[in-house]
């Protein structure tokens, strides 16, 4: 009984004692999950081998758990994938990013065959994608601004053979890591 009472007293006294051995986890900078930023572009059917378009705007605030103050972010990977029943041959293109009211900037360029991109090509593992750092910086700024700024992707590219049907797409995913601490 005496031991239990002592234990209870000690536990009650804990908040009053400065246990410097333990950092408050809410003050710790941690790596935060960021949902990928994605966009899909239709390769228009017909005779025109050029394609392009603008994807819906993304609100970066929806990509990170609320309740954290972001202190930094970076892009660590980008993937590009082609889907569709037709082989459109050699292709190349540019994906742009516009942040807030700023004019768009090149995020990355890509080139390769349509079938090569049927398997998602990764910036980390493939030479088919080349990153433009200023465009990457724009996305980082969009995520870390207070409040976060809207991000809009657009693309312009060419294929060797235009598709006959509207079922061929180019899909882009941008993977980011953010740092922050709890509010």
């Amino acid at each position: 009984m005496k031991m239990k009472l002592l234990a209870l007293l000690v536990i009650a006294a804990l908040p009053l004692m400065a246990f410097d051995c333990i950092t408050d986890p809410s003050k710790l900078t941690i790596s935060l999950k960021v949902s990928p930023l994605g966009a899909t572009f239709l390769i228009n059917p017909g005779t025109n081998t050029q394609y392009g378009g603008m994807a819906p705007a993304i609100n970066p605030a929806s990509l990170v758990s609320s309740g954290y103050t972001l202190t930094g972010a970076s892009i660590y990977d980008i993937t590009v994938q082609t889907t569709g029943p037709e082989d459109l041959g050699n292709g190349s293109g540019t994906v742009f990013v516009a942040v807030g009211s700023k004019s768009r900037d090149t995020l990355f360029t890509y080139s390769g065959t349509w079938t090569q991109f049927n398997t998602p090509q990764s910036l980390l593992a493939s030479s088919a994608i080349a990153l433009n750092q200023s465009g990457a910086n724009d996305i980082v700024a969009a995520l870390t601004s207070q409040p976060p700024l809207q991000v809009t992707f657009s693309a312009a590219g060419t294929v060797k053979t235009a598709p006959s049907k509207a079922d061929d797409y180019l899909t882009v995913q941008v993977y980011m890591q953010a740092s922050g601490h709890k509010n």
Partner: protein, 297 residues
């Protein structure tokens, strides 16, 4: 220091070890949100050293004598404190990240480490820096040793901390037995015994631990001073289980097997009639020290 104050200090150490995360958190929702950020493998690597050191503590301090009568009355109430040392190996782990493998901080480590992404020139960070800054992970528990029947003595440990201020309850339980080898081999000039010990710890539904230790020990008394030592095989396992309130987030269920599987013990005990004080050093893959006081004979 009076026994009561010494007990209080040891209980502080118990509470610090048992409630290592919870005292600084206002609500479970803060801890939920922090854990939500990490994938399971990252979390395991980050907290594995805590499981290693805690397991080493739990398997320490059970005995400080191999002298067990074939038949007789023995009862001793003891308070035992243990501390497993945080070495350099416990401060970092290898994180397998999308940009490559690199060493980064564990829960005992320093700042967050990073690896430069060769394609972007930007750092990719480990999940977090360390937040327990201590040279050792302490633990303490009261124990009773009682015997001696057919050269066998029981060891029982228990401490229960009730739920308080939104924190779940915690309990530590251990039971074991020492058996005299001398009764079978009286020619041995030392007291020799063998032991087996099982322990359990739980912290709400979040942490469940179990440990098993089997070993042998020897001791020799010189007046009031007793020298003791032993060899012990041990294993431990800690399960950290957490289900986020957000049903779209996967549950965390991590099992960590303790790193320490063997130890050699060397200790001294000062036996002054009804009162004894003892301390030992334990050497394995993790270095551990235990010490305590006992009342009884």
């Amino acid at each position: 220091m009076t026994p009561l104050r010494h007990t209080g200090r040891l209980l502080v150490a118990v509470a610090c070890a048992l409630l290592v995360v919870a005292p600084r958190l206002r609500a479970q929702s803060n801890f939920e949100k922090t854990l939500d950020q990490f994938n399971q493998n990252d979390v395991k690597g980050y907290i594995q050293p805590f499981g290693d050191l805690f397991g080493t503590d739990m398997n320490a301090g059970m005995f400080h004598s191999a002298e067990i009568a074939r038949t007789g009355f023995h009862m001793s109430f003891e308070i035992v404190g243990m501390a497993s040392m945080v070495g350099d190996a416990q401060k970092t782990y290898t994180l397998n990240s999308p940009v490559g493998s690199f060493k980064t901080a564990t829960i005992f480590g320093g700042g967050r480490d990073s690896l430069i992404n060769p394609k972007t020139g930007q750092p990719y960070y480990g999940i977090a820096g360390g937040f327990i800054n201590t040279p050792a992970l302490p633990l303490a528990a009261p124990q009773i040793t009682i015997g001696d029947v057919f050269g066998t003595r029981a060891i029982i440990r228990y401490i229960g901390i009730p739920a308080l201020s939104g924190l779940p309850s915690a309990s530590l339980f251990g039971i074991g037995a020492q058996h005299s080898v001398n009764q079978w081999l009286p020619v041995i000039p030392l007291d020799v015994a063998a032991h087996i010990y099982y322990s359990k710890f739980s912290f709400g539904d979040l942490i469940n631990f179990s440990g098993l230790a089997i070993g042998a020990q020897a001791s020799k008394s010189f007046s009031v001073l007793r020298v003791y030592g032993g060899l012990q095989w041990e294993k431990s396992s800690m399960e950290v289980k957490y289900t986020p309130a957000d049903v779209t987030v996967p549950a965390v269920d991590i099992t960590m097997d303790g790193a320490n599987s063997f130890r050699a013990t060397l200790g001294l005990c000062l036996h002054l009639g009804f009162f004894s004080i003892f301390g030992d050093a334990n050497f394995g893959s993790i270095t551990n020290y235990s010490a305590g006081i006992g009342f009884g004979g």
